[in-house]
């Protein structure tokens, strides 16, 4: 993976994704040992739109590996206001740093950046298109909760039409197989056909589409919540009628399995009641930690710095 850019998760093989999960677990258990891994390295965080949590996660990941960070947050601060192209910015910044994390409102911006840069580029979100490290955080959370990312019943709830994290998670889980998806959404916000096609093309995966969360929550190992936004509805009555159906509270959670994990890409608004935070099944803040660990795994891997004491995953184990 040395020198490799990660624009979408398709840039990583399933073995490489499993290796990243393994590395993240190792990093979590050996934080002190890995704290000098990237000494002398510099990460640039080029954030053309604000995303405080994602930027802090990328930056903390490099700092915890012993590296340093430069960058900007908000296009108004950048030379883009003077008309510089993404390509030119990346050609310039490549001379300064060892790895770049880019966030940009335009879809496909990370690909443009990766083609222009001479150092690895990690996509930190390009508009509504891709956000691969979010999906890595989701996978790491499943791995830490269940010790596996297969043989699970995964419920995805809320806005399944526009939620890129949902599409990316489904597509990535399909690459590993053996997942049963329960797609819980109002008719207005159902899963797009190309994502359904992806599930259908995976013989070991299946799906059902339902409208009511409470009726299926007892079957789930994982509940991935997303926000149902008012502006997605044609009329307010429909929104008001459906809004509460997709809010997770203690009452609905009481119907769930004792070891179900609740995930959410954050930020939440009101779709998960605050009372749920104290429930051991709430895994969404753990997801944030896993996101940082996966970014540490990714950053150290693409710059080619070995984690001290880390034993790579046995290829046979990877295939199993």
């Amino acid at each position: 993976m040395v020198g490799k850019s990660v624009v979408t998760l398709d840039d990583l093989s399933t073995n490489q994704i499993l290796e990243m999960l393994h590395k993240a677990e190792y990093i979590d258990a050996h934080r002190k040992e890995v704290s000098h891994t990237c000494e002398g390295r510099v990460l640039a965080t080029l954030f053309y739109e604000p995303s405080t949590r994602t930027r802090l996660s990328f930056e903390t990941a490099m700092l915890r590996l012993g590296g340093k960070v430069i960058g900007f947050a908000g296009a108004q601060l950048a030379s883009v206001t003077k008309g510089e192209t993404i390509s030119d910015t990346l050609k310039t910044v490549s001379n300064y740093v060892d790895v770049v994390a880019i966030r940009h409102p335009k879809e496909g911006a990370a690909l443009v950046a990766s083609r222009a840069a001479s150092v690895p580029v990690i996509n930190a979100g390009d508009g509504g298109h891709m956000h691969p490290t979010q999906t890595l955080a989701d996978l790491a959370t499943l791995q830490s909760r269940f010790g596996r990312i297969t043989d699970l019943t995964v419920g995805l709830c809320g806005d399944l039409t526009f939620g890129r994290t949902v599409h990316s998670l489904i597509e990535t889980l399909c690459r590993f197989g053996n997942v049963r998806f329960i797609l819980i959404s109002p008719d207005e916000l159902k899963t797009p056909q190309y994502v359904i096609d992806r599930i259908n093309a995976t013989p070991t995966c299946s799906y059902v589409e339902v409208r009511d969360l409470a009726s299926v929550i007892g079957d789930l190992d994982v509940l991935y919540m997303t926000r149902v936004q008012k502006e997605r509805f044609f009329n307010e009555d429909d929104y008001l009628r459906l809004r509460d159906t997709y809010i997770l509270d203690e009452e609905k959670l009481s119907l769930a399995k004792p070891h179900m994990a609740v995930l959410h890409p954050l930020p939440r608004v009101n779709e998960i009641a605050v009372e749920v935070d104290d429930d051991p099944r709430a895994a969404y803040f753990e997801q944030v930690k896993n996101g940082m660990l996966m970014r540490m795994a990714l950053e150290s891997s693409v710059v080619g710095d070995d984690l001290p004491g880390y034993e790579p995953l046995n290829p046979k184990e990877v295939q199993a």
Binding site: P105, G127, H129
Partner: protein
């Protein structure tokens, strides 16, 4: 309807009815600077109706572009008034610099020095998607 035969040149046949001007545009053939005849919406045994483009003089036709914009079309090469070669375009895997992405959020709308690039996703559905934002191509 009769159109004088060409002596040396090419005939693009089985062009979907009504699209020949668009096809010429994609092939970057300027009708104002090229000696050509268009037969539009004529009868086709195979497709019911079709357009035919006859071009006098040699012209390099980009078969990849033709395959992309008019998959069913064929190209006949005419020499001395006779068809000496028939070419069938194939669906190209990649299409570069032919059409623009219609997604207003695509990076190609703001990053003007990059080429418009599409890749074939589904050959039966003739589905192409933008390399950058994955939006489906629209002609």
């Amino acid at each position: 309807m009769e159109v004088t035969s060409i002596v040396n040149g090419i005939i693009i046949d089985h062009v979907p009815a009504g699209t020949s001007l668009k096809v010429l545009e994609y092939l970057k053939i300027d009708p104002s600077k090229t000696k050509l005849a268009l037969i539009m919406n004529t009868t086709s045994k195979r497709f019911g109706s079709k357009d035919i483009i006859k071009i006098e003089d040699d012209k390099d036709i980009d078969l990849d572009v033709l395959g992309f914009v008019a998959r069913q079309a064929t190209v006949d090469v005419v020499r001395g008034g006779r068809i000496v070669e028939k070419k069938q375009p194939h669906l190209p895997e990649h299409v570069v610099g032919v059409i623009k992405c219609v997604n207003p959020r695509c990076v190609t709308t703001s990053e003007h020095d990059i080429k418009q690039m599409f890749h074939l996703v589904h050959s039966d559905r003739l589905e192409y998607r933008c390399d950058y934002c994955d939006e489906e191509a629209k002609l």
